[in-house]
């Protein structure tokens, strides 16, 4: 089974803190994605990566950065957390040659910024 794991299920941080959200997949997938999920807005793509050290902006990259030093790990960084970044963050991975272009999701990290 494909497994995508995220470092924390729940996280509480203070405004201005630097926050790291980690995602690891064990299926050797080339593609990895970070979304945020908000009620009434669905999932919105923050950043994605097609390969190690490669990254591309999604629809809402402002206030975020990412790092992909190893194929299995994709980190989302909030350089200076703000209250409007309180949200559920979902990581996903896929393979461009995979069956059905299916994205596999992690369990999510619910981040609260106070």
């Amino acid at each position: 089974d494909v497994k995508v794991t995220q470092s924390s299920r729940y996280l509480v941080k203070r405004t201005g803190e630097k926050v790291f959200l980690e995602c690891v997949q064990d299926m050797d997938h080339e593609n990895m994605f970070w979304y945020r999920q908000d009620p009434g807005l669905g999932l919105r793509l923050i950043y994605f990566s097609y390969d190690v050290k490669m990254k591309e902006k999604g629809d809402i990259p402002e206030g975020y950065s990412v790092s992909r030093e190893k194929k299995e790990r994709f980190s989302l960084i909030l350089e200076s957390a703000s209250t409007n970044q309180t949200s559920m963050y979902l990581c996903a991975s896929s393979s461009p040659t995979g069956f059905y272009n299916e994205q596999f999701f992690g369990p999510g990290t619910r981040l609260t910024v106070l």
């Binding site: 593609n31 669905g42 793509l45 994605f48 979902l90 059905y100 299916e102 994205q103 999701f105 999510g108």
Partner: protein, 114 residues
């Protein structure tokens, strides 16, 4: 730009009954894929069903089937013989052929009651 619209924020259905979730999308592309994802409460998002735009036949997966109307740009999900375990948030999603990026709708929260 492509958009995905789910006009039903919440729906409910009695166990063993049939329910249909609506989704419309907007694109000028001809090669694309459509998906329904399920997010159970406090659990990971999983793929329910997928449809390739070039296929006329509607996809089915056990109790789940779609009604794909390409000209109308409509992609509804029908759940037959609803079960309590079908209670979840359901997201419709669009992917352009040749890319691996998903565009999600805002979701429909489905409650199945006994």
């Amino acid at each position: 730009a492509q958009t995905v619209t789910q006009s039903q924020p919440e729906m409910s259905v009695q166990e063993a009954e049939t329910v249909t979730l609506s989704c419309t999308y907007d694109t000028s592309e001809n090669n694309y894929y459509l998906f329904w994802y399920k997010q159970p409460p406090s659990r990971q998002m999983i793929l329910v069903i997928r449809q390739e735009a070039y296929k006329q036949q509607n996809a089915t997966e056990n109790r789940f089937s779609v009604n794909f109307q390409k000209a109308a740009k409509s992609f509804s999900l029908k759940i037959s013989d609803s079960q309590l375990g079908d209670t979840a948030m359901y997201f419709c999603a669009f992917m352009n052929g040749g890319t691996d990026k998903l565009i999600f709708g805002t979701g429909t929260r489905l409650q199945v009651f006994p």
